[in-house]
């Protein structure tokens, strides 16, 4: 079920009603049943059973880990590895199939391996990580294993999260998710506002950007300025699509009184790539930090590598090399999670690794350069420069993710070296799939987005809070205008098919 479909609105409305009618003690059951229904409608019986089986398996293993302290390591591995294997089987199989093709063809072993075609359980990339985090948290003593399997099933299968996340921790959500859902008017109201805002981002902005992106990426004759337009549109599409999805999901969840963590914090204000990844797809970064990076850095084998290097090349080198190895593994994982093909591994992972580590290595050099050029790093102009630099690097990197593969991506960028800036003003932009009216609606919408983001960046409590301080007539005008904008300018209905949320494919 697409979360921008009429069916979902109806589903949400009915569930909300059922939720608040039910006595507080049983409200979480409503959510559980709704999630089950959501699963069944979205992917059918077998994948739903696969999911439930996985969740129950995790619950069981967690209890066993809790009881058998001395066999913790084995049990944890036995719990986690199968779940990850299933995930890779469904989602990242291309990595193994494609990269071993040469070998398989040569030796004739498994030479007719093809991509599995079964229906993939909804949200497998998300719930697998949630369950792994639960098991690890129990294993590390952070939380006690839960006795009630329904709680784990609900935690991992909570329907708003199933299309694109965010990643949650059991400890963080269990009170609200499994608690007694008290009715709070502000939650309902703010949640609905956020939901509407997400619809605006997705239906009015992301869908239009998608048209431009598809036109540029799909036409190998376009060159020069078009490539830049395509790349910029793609990064904006990613942002409006994904953060819009998050707004819809977090807003919907808020209407139930269940708080989900943020995935975006005005990422384009970041002044460095490191900071960027603390503001973009936040929950993925945090998950990988806690469950991949730290355990890797703390692991014994990496410690020995560190000691080995420290002996040969000095203490600092030892520390740094160990750190970089840990980061490499983490960034590889980020890229790999996006897709098993090298284009994702590079464009969503390794490229950033190279940039960040490169930045770290060259840091002393840069510091000297800045001093020598007498650049004032406190000046706003420097901040602006840093932001632009960060944004440009990110745009460049993800633009490869949209191409068919890395080679195609490079080919596309080679075409960018043609000089034709006039296409920006001579009306050619209206030939990329959006007519002039649609195009300007998009530009104007992006402007509104920019203004709201600036406001968001400037406040602590958030735009909705500030809005709630204004007079009721003003507030209502804003909401009604936003609603009207989505109704009129949204690309939905019989003529369009909202492109599947980009992060729903992960």
């Amino acid at each position: 079920m697409s979360i921008v479909s009429f069916a979902f609105f109806a589903f949400l409305g009915v569930t909300l009603l059922a939720y608040y009618i039910t006595p507080q003690k049983f409200r979480y059951v409503v959510v559980l049943l709704a999630s089950a229904l959501f699963f069944l409608i979205s992917c059918g019986v077998i994948p739903t059973l696969i999911f439930t089986g996985t969740a129950v398996f995790a619950w069981l293993m967690a209890i066993m880990i809790g009881k058998n302290g001395n066999r913790k390591a084995i049990l944890t591995a036995a719990a986690i590895l199968p779940m990850i294997a299933v995930l890779i089987f469904f989602k990242e199989n291309s990595f193994f199939i494609d990269n071993t093709r040469w070998l398989r063809d040569r030796t004739g072993i498994l030479s007719d391996l093809t991509y599995p075609t079964r229906t993939i359980p909804l949200g497998i990339s998300y719930y697998t990580f949630l369950l792994v985090s639960y098991v690890l948290d129990v294993s590390w003593g952070k939380i006690e294993p839960t006795k009630n399997p329904f709680k784990i099933v609900l935690f991992a299968g909570y329907f708003p999260q199933m299309t694109s996340g965010p990643f949650t921790r059991f400890a963080d959500v269990k009170n609200e998710l499994l608690g007694r859902g008290k009715f709070n008017y502000e939650n309902l109201s703010f949640g609905a506002q956020r939901f509407l805002w997400g619809l605006f981002k997705k239906l009015v902005l992301a869908e239009r950007l998608a048209v431009i992106v598809a036109s540029v990426y799909g036409n190998t004759k376009l060159e020069g300025a078009y490539i830049f337009i395509g790349a910029v549109s793609y990064v904006l599409q990613l942002y409006t699509d994904f953060s819009g999805c998050m707004d819809i999901v977090i807003g919907a969840s808020q209407m139930f009184g269940i708080k989900l963590p943020e995935n975006f914090k005005t990422p384009f204000y970041s002044t460095s790539l490191s900071e960027f990844w603390r503001r973009w797809h936040i929950t993925l970064g945090v998950w990988l930090k806690d469950y991949v990076l730290y355990p890797t850095l703390k692991s014994r084998w990496l410690q020995s590598v560190r000691a080995f290097c420290a002996k040969r090349l000095g203490k600092k080198a030892g520390k740094d090399i160990a750190t970089y190895i840990g980061m490499l593994i983490t960034w590889f994982s980020i890229g790999f999670w996006h897709g098993g093909s090298w284009k994702y591994i590079c464009s969503s992972g390794l490229f950033f690794f190279v940039m960040i580590v490169g930045g770290l290595l060259l840091e002393p050099g840069f510091k000297r350069l800045i001093k020598w050029l007498r650049i004032n790093t406190g000046a706003w102009s420097w901040t602006l420069f840093s932001r632009m630099r960060t944004w440009i690097l990110f745009t460049l990197s993800v633009s490869f993710g949209r191409a068919a593969d890395l080679t195609d991506g490079f080919r596309m960028w080679r075409r960018a070296f043609k000089y034709n800036p006039w296409v920006m003003v001579d009306g050619s932009l209206y030939n990329l799939g959006l007519d002039a009216k649609d195009f300007w609606v998009m530009i104007f919408g992006l402007l509104i987005l920019f203004i709201i983001s600036k406001m968001q960046y400037g406040t602590v409590e958030g735009v909705r809070y500030k809005l709630s301080q204004q007079n009721i007539i003003f507030r209502w005008i804003v909401f009604l205008a936003l609603f009207a904008a989505v109704l009129i300018f949204g690309m939905y209905g019989e003529h369009y098919d909202p492109a599947d949320f980009i992060y729903g494919q992960f």
Binding site: P295, K319, T323
Partner: protein
């Protein structure tokens, strides 16, 4: 070791990891107080404390640690002083 001595040792570790001899930690010090204390340095700090005091923090403690005071408490309980 007394608590003050533990603090002194911890301070040494901090100064070493961050390469800054002016650092003075107390039980309320958090990552916000020291400029270079980001998620990467956090783990390096943990590792250095483990080496210095001869015990291992659990992963849960690594990510759950809120300030230096908590670390010191754990060191006092399990560390080889």
């Amino acid at each position: 070791m007394t608590k003050e001595q533990v603090y002194a040792a911890v301070n040494e570790v901090f100064r070493d990891v961050f390469d800054d001899d002016s650092i003075e930690v107390n039980d309320a010090t958090t990552a916000d107080d020291i400029e270079d204390w980001d998620s990467l340095e956090h783990i390096n700090l943990i590792l250095a404390l483990e080496v210095r005091f001869g015990f291992k923090f659990t992963m849960g403690e690594v990510t759950g640690m809120k300030n230096v005071g908590e670390a010191v408490d754990m060191i006092m309980q399990r560390g080889q002083l």
